[in-house]
């Protein structure tokens, strides 16, 4: 009888222990899940956002391959060169946004000439290391007549994602393919990434 009682006591203790362990594991899982969830980005639509970019092509009255500042404020995207009037695009007119990446040789023409002048193919070895990765941001927008425009910007690596997030937070559609009818946002196809291979 005593033995039976002891056995029952032992079983009850193990059940309580198991329940406690389960409870602890459950609470741990919940807390980990809570930590993993990022808070939704809170962007003030009127706050000024600026980033240094290179305008590759597309904006009206702006030279191709020129550096400047891309800023977003009050539902307007503006590209401003130093000492020149800026080009503006209304956020409401942006229909699509695509992000990509590209690798380019650095140094421009002086570097090119230097590499060409280097003896014993030294320039080629330099080329092997003298490249840098960039993000490219492609905007598709419409003008007042409904005509489709495209603008391409080159940003330092990593800043493309920031700019994309900023634009998305302000209501710009992301990579909506025309076939999807605008309902299903589809991620943009990978841009030229063969440089990485």
């Amino acid at each position: 009888m005593n033995r039976l009682f002891a056995l029952r006591n032992h079983e009850a203790g193990s059940i309580v222990g198991q329940a406690l362990i389960s409870l602890w594991a459950l609470s741990l899982c919940c807390s980990v899940g809570a930590f993993a969830q990022k808070p939704a980005p809170t962007v003030n639509a009127n706050a000024l956002f600026r980033v240094e970019v290179t305008h590759l092509l597309g904006l009206p009255n702006t030279k191709s391959n020129c550096n400047g500042t891309l800023s977003i404020q009050d539902k307007v995207l503006q590209f401003q060169q130093k000492g020149k009037p800026g080009a503006q695009v209304s956020m409401a007119s942006i229909r699509n946004l695509f992000l990509g990446e590209e690798s380019k040789q650095v140094g421009g023409l002086p570097m090119k000439l230097g590499k060409a002048a280097a003896p014993y193919g030294g320039g080629r070895v330099v080329s092997l290391f003298a490249h840098k990765k960039y993000d490219t941001l492609t905007l598709e927008y419409v003008d007042s007549d409904g005509g489709v425009h495209g603008a391409i910007f080159q940003l330092p690596k990593g800043q493309g994602e920031m700019l994309k997030d900023e634009l998305l937070a302000r209501g710009v559609p992301w990579g909506v393919s025309p076939d999807s009818g605008g309902d299903q946002p589809t991620k943009s196809t990978a841009e030229v990434t063969r440089e990485n291979k």
Partner: protein, 197 residues
């Protein structure tokens, strides 16, 4: 005395003939040229450029929009068209003599600027497109397959610039008389060649 007078008269007559005849011949040639050529008197068409169709190829959006933008710029440079309109432009509906330019990517080889710089012989970015100039009724007026490459110097996007230049050049070389004839075939009978009622 008599012979010298006759000589003088003969020289005077010859001088008049020499002055008048070449002028008449030249004016005739100019008139022929102006009637045959596609210069000032030829009716000018308005072209609407449609966005590039990448077909089944995985062409980056930046490339598609770069071809589109470069094409608009290069077609403007040719001065063959009264106006170059963008896709979706509402003004197109008011234009009587409108041609549509469709571009479909047939082949695309993504290159690498670094590989070009290191090896010289590999890493070329190649684009092949089929470009069609159509009337509103869908009749094909010009149909060409055009290439655009970047083999040695320049970024990958430069291939789009070269391609657009080649397309504009192909359209420029296309027989304008054929374009006019084809266009006339598609016009309602109450419209003349200029499209004016």
């Amino acid at each position: 005395m008599k012979t010298s007078k006759r000589k003088l008269w003969f020289i005077w007559a010859a001088a008049i003939v020499a002055m008048v005849v070449p002028g008449q011949v030249l004016s005739q040639t100019a008139a022929v040229k102006s009637s045959n050529g596609s210069g000032g008197s030829a009716p000018q068409w308005t072209v609407q450029v449609e966005k590039v169709d990448s077909g089944h190829l995985d062409l980056a959006h930046s490339f598609q929009l770069a071809i589109y933008e470069n094409l608009l710029e290069e077609l403007n440079k040719t001065k063959k068209f009264k106006a170059v309109l963008r896709e979706g432009d509402r003004k197109a509906s008011e234009v009587p003599s409108l041609l549509l330019l469709k571009t479909t990517v047939v082949k695309y080889t993504p290159g690498s600027e670094t590989r070009r710089a290191v090896t010289t012989v590999s890493g070329a970015t190649k684009l092949t497109v089929r470009t069609q100039l159509l009337t509103r009724g869908g009749k094909i007026v010009v149909d060409r397959t055009v290439n655009g490459n970047v083999r040695f110097f320049g970024s990958n996007l430069r291939a789009t610039h070269n391609l657009a230049r080649n397309i504009a050049s192909a359209i420029k070389k296309a027989n304008v008389a054929t374009v006019q004839a084809s266009y006339r075939d598609t016009q309602p009978p109450n419209l003349n060649a200029d499209g004016a009622q």
